[in-house]
Amino acid sequence: MPATLMNPPLAKTPLSDWHVGHRGRMVDFAGWSMPVQYESIVAEHEAVRHAVGLFDISHMGRLTFAGPGATEFLDSLLTRRVADMQPGQIRYSLVTNDSGGILDDVLLYRLQDPSAAEQAPGENQVPYLLVVNASNRQKILDWIAAHLLPSGVVCCDETFSTAMIAVQGPAARKLVMDVLHPGLNAMRYYYGKSVGHGGELSVVSRTGYTGEDGFELIVPAAGAADLWEKLLTAGQSVGAVPVGLGARDTLRLEAAMPLYGHELSESIDPFTSGLDFAVNLEGRNFPGRDALAQIASRPRQRVRVGLELACKRVPREGYGIRRSSKASDDNVIGEISSGTFSPTLKRPIAMGYVRAEFSQPGTELTIDIRGQLEPARVVPLPLYRRPKTN
């Protein structure tokens, strides 16, 4: 019997029909039917590096938090401080389990409600938005419900009532200004704000997952297809294209952004992942805090590194990293976590975890690509950094 008959139906985003109608090749991604590509991963990748690309990222989980105590609650949940966030600010953070393993990597938005000034104190605003990975949404909801949520804090799952669209690339700023609001030009990186009116969630933020400048837009589900079409039409003259998950992966890998389930998992701690900046231990308490303080005090065993290869064969997740070209098991000093052919660098690239003594940039290693040992070199992360324009 085909597997599709036995699995629950896939969730669809408000843009699913659009994707199917425009040659989107749909795949199962974390229980969602999502486009992996439309025409070519490489062409979509290059559009984002040189012009602008649109991504349907509605599968990401969107959870809002409101009510008295929301700040304290989130502060007790996340690895970075919440209380000192400015209205409008967005912070990359982690949710860790009691042993310091990563349950998810998240973006916390402290929203600045445009109508806040007119609201009476205590009126039910939505001061926080937490964006979580699609694959972890239920896990995080369960974690919040079972362990932590105090009375008075209201958590709403807005994933299905809204859509999320990423606009990424050097032309993203002008496109978003033209279509949404000229004032967005002034929005700083990792800031966002509520837009629109009424009780429906609508947010614009200057964030992304591609290594390019860009924005992420959250809008009510009913308006998503209209906004998507408007952006594509307005961006036509600069070569705006829809981009699937395939190019999202090659872009984020070049930019060395870790992906949950690959670089990040419950068995990997934030320091090993190189996410020291995302953990604030001083004067705080959250699940895993004490375990992380212990881990931080010890020397690193394994380190996340970037790898470049001169061959054309691509190292894939799980392939062994060896210290020399001699094939013997005691040579294995690490493992690939993600690998691809880099459309920008025109060579295979990878991230992986290696024993700390082999993590210095310039270290020559070999990768076991299906039994053939190919030379590789440790390179600094990120593997690609966009040129500074202004």
Binding site: I41, K312, T340, F341, R370
Partner: protein
């Protein structure tokens, strides 16, 4: 070559058999246009050495795309007598002419009966339609 005259394996390879100058049955092997389109963004391929003995169902090469690596399986057994050495340097040929210039390997057949298990074009088309969903 007209794909309607080819036989196809479940794993998307096509086979065309004709006798060589000594009357030996030689199978030419490639991959279908459906498979090439599904792979997209090809970056590398590796083909076998001439002279290698191959068993039916064995991998004789690999095709690497940005997204994933795929094996090239030989649906037939025998000796590799020719390899399209030009192809790895011109991967675009696989898209433009998968049933002609995009051929990959020629294998001198051990046993022509092995072809009986392969699909005709219509049956293969039905498989692709099923997979395309």
């Amino acid at each position: 070559m007209n794909p309607e005259q080819l036989r196809f394996a479940k794993t998307h390879e096509w086979v065309h058999v004709e006798p060589d100058s000594q009357g030996q049955q030689v199978a030419t092997l490639g991959v279908s246009s459906f498979a090439v389109e599904a792979l997209t963004d090809l970056v590398f391929m590796q083909l076998p050495e001439v002279g290698r003995q191959v068993k039916p169902g064995q991998s004789v090469g690999e095709i690497e795309s940005v997204k994933a690596v795929s094996d090239l399986y030989s649906p037939v057994g025998g000796k590799v007598v020719a390899v399209n050495t030009d192809l790895p340097n011109h991967l675009e040929t696989l898209s433009s002419d998968p049933y002609g210039a995009g051929w990959m390997v020629k294998i001198q057949l051990d046993d022509p009966k092995q072809l009986d298990s392969l699909m005709d074009y219509a049956t293969y088309q039905a498989q692709c339609a099923e997979e395309g969903h």
